[in-house]
Structures are given as structure tokens and as C-alpha cells.
Symmetry: C2
Subunit: 220 residues, 2 copies
């Protein structure tokens, strides 16, 4: 059988699949912690409330096959998922904006366990510049053009005030950043070859508040 | 004209609308910062790359009307969006899991500006319990049943290791929590009257890595 890992990992995966794969990883990791050796897609399906045929389809992107009546080997499935999702490889990233949220994210060691290596921060505030945060150096934002290529960083995390997001995004891209992880509520526009991922914490809060209100109204 | 604010704020808004409203808010806030007085949906459309008719439709949920040829009054639109999204009202929340990410989120003052008031943390680690984080008290997780009703908290933020997420979610709901904001990659299952919002940072990372890989492959 041909090893097609290199080919598959470059397939543009559907977003819902990429959303579900970390669920499977989380579940098989907990199974491995409990010394479980095999798991079937039916079991995963029951636990995660995802259709079993969908799980088989999602996992078909990976370089792994389940065995009839036994299922997937837990340790192997965990490793394949981690490799496939890129969590085992270090990806150099810079934090643009080392305010409250930026500093908090630098401090979160969970991100590095998922392959995100924050190698530097950038800010405009002289009180923040030149003071390392959790061991990560913080530079003046005007130095992005010089520093980002040196640091070989491809990912820029945007955690500035929303009205500065577009401007720092443009500067980061000029400096060589290829992907933006945007934590601001600003809609950043870029050339189509730049990867943009929004993590809209405030939209999620708005959703929670709205759902709570409607639940409260309907239970009256 | 009848004031229908109370009615509209209890409408179960479509998720895409709730996603876009914070974009509009972010944009009109920046306009107000620049002393701009009026904005049309065409302008918002151009800036945010959202269809103008979609914007008019989204804003129709609010208690505001644009004026022909002038558009929306910026200050009023900002206020209506903040009120409508619930960002001006304090919502009591507890942080369940005060590890790396939990502590980081408590530290992020941005959340309180969007109406999230984290009133307490819960953990199982004796080194964390009883030591306030950024002024927020941290209790033993076994005290949730007693503390959560006292604190009148309706929102529980889940930031524990993924394999403990379901268990602490169940305990939080028993203690009176009505909405869970889940930062773990675990799929939490609850009764349908509980609001669940996942913020899947690790899924977003997986998306970024996958998109970067495919971009790199296609540009070769």
C-alpha cells in the first residue's frame, strides 16, 4: 500500500470535518488514559453524538483503517489525529497586541501543546515593549518588518483594539505573515492567499446572552 | 409607535445575524471615535464586505430605523447594538477550571467590557483554591452546589481538561447554571434547555494549519 500521508495532509479539508477531528482526538486521548485499546466508530458515535458513517468518512482522510468488528487502535488513532491536525509540529506565531487578551493568550500553555509556538509579541505601548511576558519577548510594532522574517513566523495572532486590526494585519502581511488568527470583532480583509481564522469571543457571548434571554422568556 | 424592544430582544436570532452584529458594532464604534455622525448600510457594506440588503435585514431586528439618504445615526446605532447584544448588562459567570486558560480568561478585562462578570472560579487543585486571581475568589469545585446559587451565576465557563468537561458540566447544571461556554474540545451533552456555546480554539488552530499547508502546496 502506498503511503499517501503527504498527499492527504495537503487536502483542503471541509470545515465541519476539521471541527470534528479534535472532538475525536479529545475522546480517544481520554480512552488511552483509561488504557482502552480499541474503539469502534459506533462507540465514538454514541459518545459524541455524531453519525457513525460521518465519523468513518471523516477518519477516511487519515492514514488509518479500522479493523472489522474490533475498530480502531486507540493509540494509533490518537497519534494519526495529532499528526494530521498539525498539533505535534511547532508553528511559529507572533502575538500582535500584548494587552489584556494578548498577554492572557501568551500565558496559556495549552496553545503550545497544540503546536502553537508564540515566539514574540508586538505592541505600541512603551510600558509593554521590552518586558518579556511568560518568557516571550515583546517588541515595538514598528519592528515587525525586520523581526518577523528573522523569527520565521507564519502566523500572526491579532489581539489589538478592533479599530487597529486592519492596519496591523496589513503590516503583518507585508512583513511575511501567511495566516492571521483574528480575536477582534473587526472583519479583516486581505488578499485571497492569506489564511484568516476569526475566533469571535464576543459573538459567542452575544449568542449566549440571546439564547439565555429566549430560554428565560419561553419558560415563563 | 410601540416600543417593541422587550419583544425583539427575546427573539431567537439566527446565528449568522448574531455573528455579524458585533462586526457592525465594532465598525460604528470606530466611526464614533472619528466623530462621524451618520452611516448608511451601503457604507457599512463596503467596509465589511457584507451585502447591504443583508445589513438592513440584520438591523431590522433592532429598535432603530435609518433615514433615507442619510442613513443611521452612529451614536444611536452603537448604543442600540450594545443594548441588543447584551454587552451593557452584567452577566454573572463562574470559571470552572482555573488552570492556564481559565486564569488567562479571568485576567482578560475585555470580557467584562462585553458584559461578562466573572464572579468566582472553581478548581480541584489545592494550590489554586483560596488564592484569588485578578481579584476573583477561587473555591473548591465541590462547593459549586452551595456557591453558584449564592453568586446568582447563570453562565459557567468550562476550562478544565477535556476528559473532565462532561462531569463538571453536569455538576454545574445541577448547581443552577443555565448556559455553558465550553473552551474544551469535548462535546458536552446536556438537556435541551441548557445553552451551550463552544469556542473551539484548537479546531481553529487545526483549520489554520490545514489552510497553511494547502496554500503552501498550491503555490509550489
Amino acid at each position: 500500500m502506498v503511503d499517501n500521508r503527504t498527499a492527504t495532509s495537503r487536502v483542503l479539508l471541509p470545515e465541519p470535518t476539521l471541527q470534528r477531528l479534535p472532538w475525536y482526538l479529545s475522546y480517544v486521548s481520554s480512552l488511552r488514559g483509561r488504557q482502552v485499546e480499541y474503539v469502534s466508530s459506533t462507540q465514538i458515535s454514541k459518545e459524541l453524538n455524531v453519525d457513525a458513517s460521518q465519523i468513518a468518512k471523516d477518519l477516511s482522510f487519515l492514514n488509518i483503517r479500522g479493523k472489522t468488528r474490533i475498530g480502531y487502535e486507540v493509540a494509533q488513532l490518537e497519534k494519526e489525529l495529532q499528526d494530521f491536525l498539525g498539533f505535534k509540529k511547532a508553528h511559529a506565531a507572533v502575538m500582535i497586541g500584548v494587552g489584556s487578551l494578548g498577554a492572557a493568550l501568551i500565558q496559556d500553555s495549552g496553545l503550545s501543546r497544540y503546536g502553537l509556538n508564540i515566539v514574540a509579541g508586538f505592541d505600541i505601548d512603551p510600558r509593554v515593549i521590552d518586558t518579556p511576558h511568560s518568557g516571550v519577548p515583546v517588541f515595538n510594532i514598528s519592528e515587525m518588518n525586520m523581526r518577523i522574517p528573522q523569527l520565521k513566523a507564519e502566523i500572526g495572532i491579532i489581539a489589538v483594539p478592533a479599530d487597529q486590526a486592519q492596519q496591523v494585519a496589513d503590516a503583518a502581511i507585508t512583513a511575511g505573515i501567511k495566516a492571521l488568527w483574528n480575536f477582534t470583532p473587526c472583519r479583516i480583509r486581505t488578499a485571497p492567499d492569506i489564511v484568516i481564522q476569526d475566533t469571535s469571543m464576543y459573538s459567542h457571548l452575544a449568542l449566549i446572552y440571546n439564547r439565555l434571554d429566549t430560554q428565560a422568556a419561553s419558560s415563563r
